[in-house]
Symmetry: C3
Subunit: 463 residues, 3 copies
């Protein structure tokens, strides 16, 4: 495979987990210093460029909201004890709450409290973005303890600011030999939740780190670390001119739990990324699941909206809402596992390895078989075992390198391992029997866009 963990393999799980541990306490939101701090930490791993988009900027149907930053938050009882304390967990404050500093009765306060009655020891994660409200989250057990105190007076403080500022996102761009681009996206707006989505953030960052030091990249790689929904929308609206280059993409989330890998297909459903992920998962030896596209979920809702329609799927383990710890304080560092993060990373590297090597070649001797003996092809081949497979792969690659079959297509048709097909192609190129097809303008999905699906920048260009 093109990209290999090699000697990092043993350590990458620990590396990923350490990064998640460092990021866990930060209070991220859709805007604000939590996101900036997160991105600065990621800069220690990968060349993350931090972008600021001012409040009020239009992004398609949306507007960048005021920036929200929190400094402290608590509920104090009459003894001045912090009975709810943001310093213990960022989840205690409803994310996006308006600032408040008030003395309230228990009857008033309880209206603003959120619990999980069926999971009485857990604190829920709640948000109030895009509407003016505030609130606190706590366990049902803590709520019951307060309730047992009867009507009392409390001091409720949320020391937050909501003011003109910016939406912050991070971007890594690793240029390759071609402008054909792979886009990897992870949402970065959740506070102290480990699986959702420190797992996706850390895997993406470590991948960027690895690809940066790869000896060679045929494809270019772009990593976007942005708040869910509004962040993806802002990025898409500011990067319309880049979309035509995006050949494949993955949204990364929920990669650290004990569940099997699951892939949610792109809206296209039969894009190369859909095929390659299915192939790699099918050959992984581990259980996995492929799910069809739905317009409900993570940022595929934006990347796969009808006017954008990028060939991007979502890779995860247990999907949102299908595990009890989802959006609760139990989605913590105990819920994610170094080996699970590592094997997800390994799988993505395999996927990227196939995409990197998946080129179209043209057999230069297409009329009957070339007389292979005279090209010195076999001299470096092992005679036994792998040698036979390689010789067969040479025949497959020659026969189907007609300009219509990429190396991955030949793997799919022949059933021969992609690495062997790739090895055969490399040898045939060296022997002068294959020529790389210049198909950079052909392999995108853009060609199949209908008039209604034309991308925004294309549409603009037509006017």
């Amino acid at each position: 495979m093109l990209f290999a963990l090699e000697d990092r393999e043993e350590n990458v799980g620990q590396e990923l987990y350490a990064l998640a541990t460092k990021l866990f306490p930060i209070h991220r939101s859709i805007t604000g210093d939590g996101v900036r701090e997160t991105l600065r930490i990621l800069q220690s791993v990968a060349p993350v460029e931090i972008k600021e988009v001012p409040t009020g900027t239009q992004a398609f149907d949306w507007t960048v909201p005021a920036e929200w930053t929190i400094r402290d938050a608590f509920v104090k009882n009459v003894k001045s004890e912090r009975v709810i304390d943001w310093r213990k967990s960022t989840l205690h404050v409803v994310n996006g709450s308006q600032p408040i500093n008030a003395t309230v009765t228990w009857s008033e306060l309880r209206q603003k409290l959120h619990t999980l009655p069926e999971q009485p020891t857990l604190v829920p994660y709640r948000t109030c973005f895009f509407k003016e409200d505030w609130g606190f989250c706590l366990s049902q057990e803590d709520f019951d303890r307060l309730d047992a105190q009867g009507e009392q007076t409390y001091e409720a403080v949320i020391d937050a600011s909501v003011k003109n500022g910016a939406l912050t996102y991070g971007e890594v761009y690793l240029p390759g030999e071609t402008k054909d681009e792979v886009l990897i996206s992870a949402h970065i707006c959740h506070p102290s939740l480990a699986n959702d989505n420190l797992s996706g953030i850390c895997v993406a960052a470590i991948l960027a780190n690895m690809l940066q030091s790869a000896p060679k990249r045929r494809l270019s790689y772009r990593f976007v670390f942005a708040p869910a929904t509004i962040g993806a929308i802002v990025w898409l609206s500011q990067n319309q001119h880049r979309l035509a280059n995006i050949r494949h993409g993955l949204i990364l989330t929920l990669l650290g739990d004990k569940g099997q890998l699951r892939y949610k297909q792109s809206r296209i459903g039969s894009a190369k990324i859909d095929q390659v992920v299915a192939h790699v998962l099918a050959n992984s030896g581990a259980p996995y699941e492929i799910r069809p596209f739905t317009p409900v979920g993570y940022d595929e809702r934006q990347y796969c909206s009808p006017g954008i329609n990028l060939p991007m799927g979502c890779l995860m383990r247990t999907p949102a809402g299908e595990f009890d710890e989802y959006h609760t304080s139990a989605d913590n560092l105990d819920f994610i596992h170094p080996d699970q993060l590592a094997s997800a990373t390994q799988t993505i590297l395999k996927i990227l390895g196939v995409l990197e090597a998946d080129e179209y070649f043209i057999n230069q001797k297409p009329f009957c078989e070339p007389k292979l003996g005279q090209y010195g092809l076999y001299e470096s081949m092992p005679e036994q075992g792998d040698g036979a497979a390689l010789q067969e792969a040479v025949q497959w690659v020659l026969n189907f390198s007609d300009g219509n079959h990429s190396l991955f297509d030949i793997t799919q048709r022949s059933g021969v391992d992609f690495a062997v097909i790739n090895d055969a192609a490399t040898r045939l190129v060296a022997a002068g029997l294959l020529l790389r097809k210049n198909n950079s303008s052909k392999c995108g999905t853009g060609a199949s866009l209908t008039n209604e699906q034309v991308r925004p920048n294309d549409r603009a260009a037509k006017r």
Copy 2:
């Protein structure tokens, strides 16, 4: 659903059965007063226009035959007793018989008698259209009784006329908002047979009655009540200029027996009508069967001939020849059932409801998701249960309203109930987020006609 039986539901079975009862005794044939009387009775239910096409009129490869009308027919024995009496059942005369008035011996007469030896109590239905002949039909038991009398003399009378006149058919046209048309056809040439085809005639007539009083029709509807084969051929030859408007169609027959619903696909096989009927039957909760097209059967032989090739399938219960009562005196009013007629009608209304609502829309905010909160979409939605399904439907409709997916296509892809998809689309149109696509010139099957399949009127136009 767009078309609902509502308070008529309880009564429609009785309505259908009462109409069939009124029509049962009439001696219909491919021409003549029996057809006219039948159509006049249908006029009490729906605005049936009665059309007369003169004898000798050319219709493609056929010619309208002389008109056949019968007034009386019997076989009398020497005691002047009517041993075979047309007044007891129209089946006793071979349909289309030449007039006869002769004294014949038993040896001569028996050559002209038709029985069902394996169903000795039943009278068969026989015809001699398009050849000059005559005959009587009776039960094997009655035949045996006569045969036991030995050689005797009989008076055989068929008081019929065969002379220049017309072929008569009925037509209902209910204009809708568009010229796109649904064609419903039922054959009307069979005499006292209930399932074949009073069931089809009555269901079509009651449907016409219901659609006439529908608050709104997007599509136009045409109902043709015509004799089998020659009637369909005459209608097609006289209406070639209308065929291009026909988007969907159903041939109705055999809808009153106890069998499950069966749908025979159009020649196209994948036409919208084929998909919608399959969908409605699959979601009916009742057993059903889909059969592929064959060029043998009812008037699909004409409507789906290669030069016509309309997107029309045939809806029925137990197919011709697959029930013992087929084309015998046992296909009588006891063989058809109000509830079976009613549930067939209900099913067709569901099919038409999907076709009515199955439009193409264009998402007006196709670049990322629109910010739905600002369109007042959710205010009227129920918060629980159906509300969640409706919100998901909103996402599906927005994502796939790209001009290539109709609402029915979105139902098929999403698995979301069509009524919910339709509800979501209605709300999105109201909110200005969807615009109706003008696709009347696109949704037909005409686009896929090959040169050989070009419709007759188009061909004429090219000359």
Copy 3:
């Protein structure tokens, strides 16, 4: 069926076996007198034209090698006994060996001996084409006996010549009513091996004999008897101008063993030949297997190379390498069976019969059904049994003769036996209701060739 064995059926197995028996002792190679002698014997059966292509002639990436002819070969011990004797079996000499006449020690000789340790009684078949070497083959038992003699001196003689000459192949061309051509190819380079490939050679020759005396041929037929690989390559390179006419083809090999028939699809995979062979095998009542194309095997490697891409599959019984006798002295006349050769021949005649009759027709009365009664169609039809099937076939042929469905396509869609469909079409043509579609320029696979797949002669023409 168009082509029938008729009274030859009983004898054809014996005919085939007798021909194989006559050819068995000849020492064929890729060039030389063995091939010429073989072709001269085939001339007694079919009008085989013998073609000579001079040594040094370029054929795509290959060059016609020097001609190899053998006159005698042996290893003699000190008692002048032939301990290895080519006169006993041509397999004893490595095919293509350089001439040698040397006195050698056992230690030296054993380096040049080939055995099958796991099949100790069998002599292997070995070749050294395209490299300068020599050797002998013998059974492991004989080897062991020699080895037991200890170090001795032997006289090793291969009286062969390798010199400028020609590559020889045979060709039969049977012109038909159209230039559309069926190509049948059998490799002719193996010495005394019966299944591989006297079975293919004899079946092809007898087929040529039968087709020559057929009362009528719509298609033209070409039979190529050429050495494997280089022979096919030479034929293709010398016949580039003919390739566009080749509509269907079969490579024949391994047809005499006890195994079931197996068909390896063309590279196209969905060519008419692929469909028709599958249909005939599925209706044969015998077990069979269809395998997908691979670029490893017999001369499909050349005929289905990407620049040639002919619609040719390979018909065989047990495939190469999948039976123990493969490429050993056990692939002898006992290993092939007259009835197996005969049933393979019969199957191919059925396949060719379908291809011969598989034409496109146009219904001349495509608007509704024609009034069949007036065309005298039914008068010659049997009334019972077959008559009903024939009447149904008439409807199928009329309905689907729209220019897009050949008779075979109609068989596939209707499930009606091809012979009955063909009978119906013949009657409809006679009645003037069907007209033959001139589609000779349409039915090839050439239309789907991509730019990279363009045939060599076409490419040349474009320059």
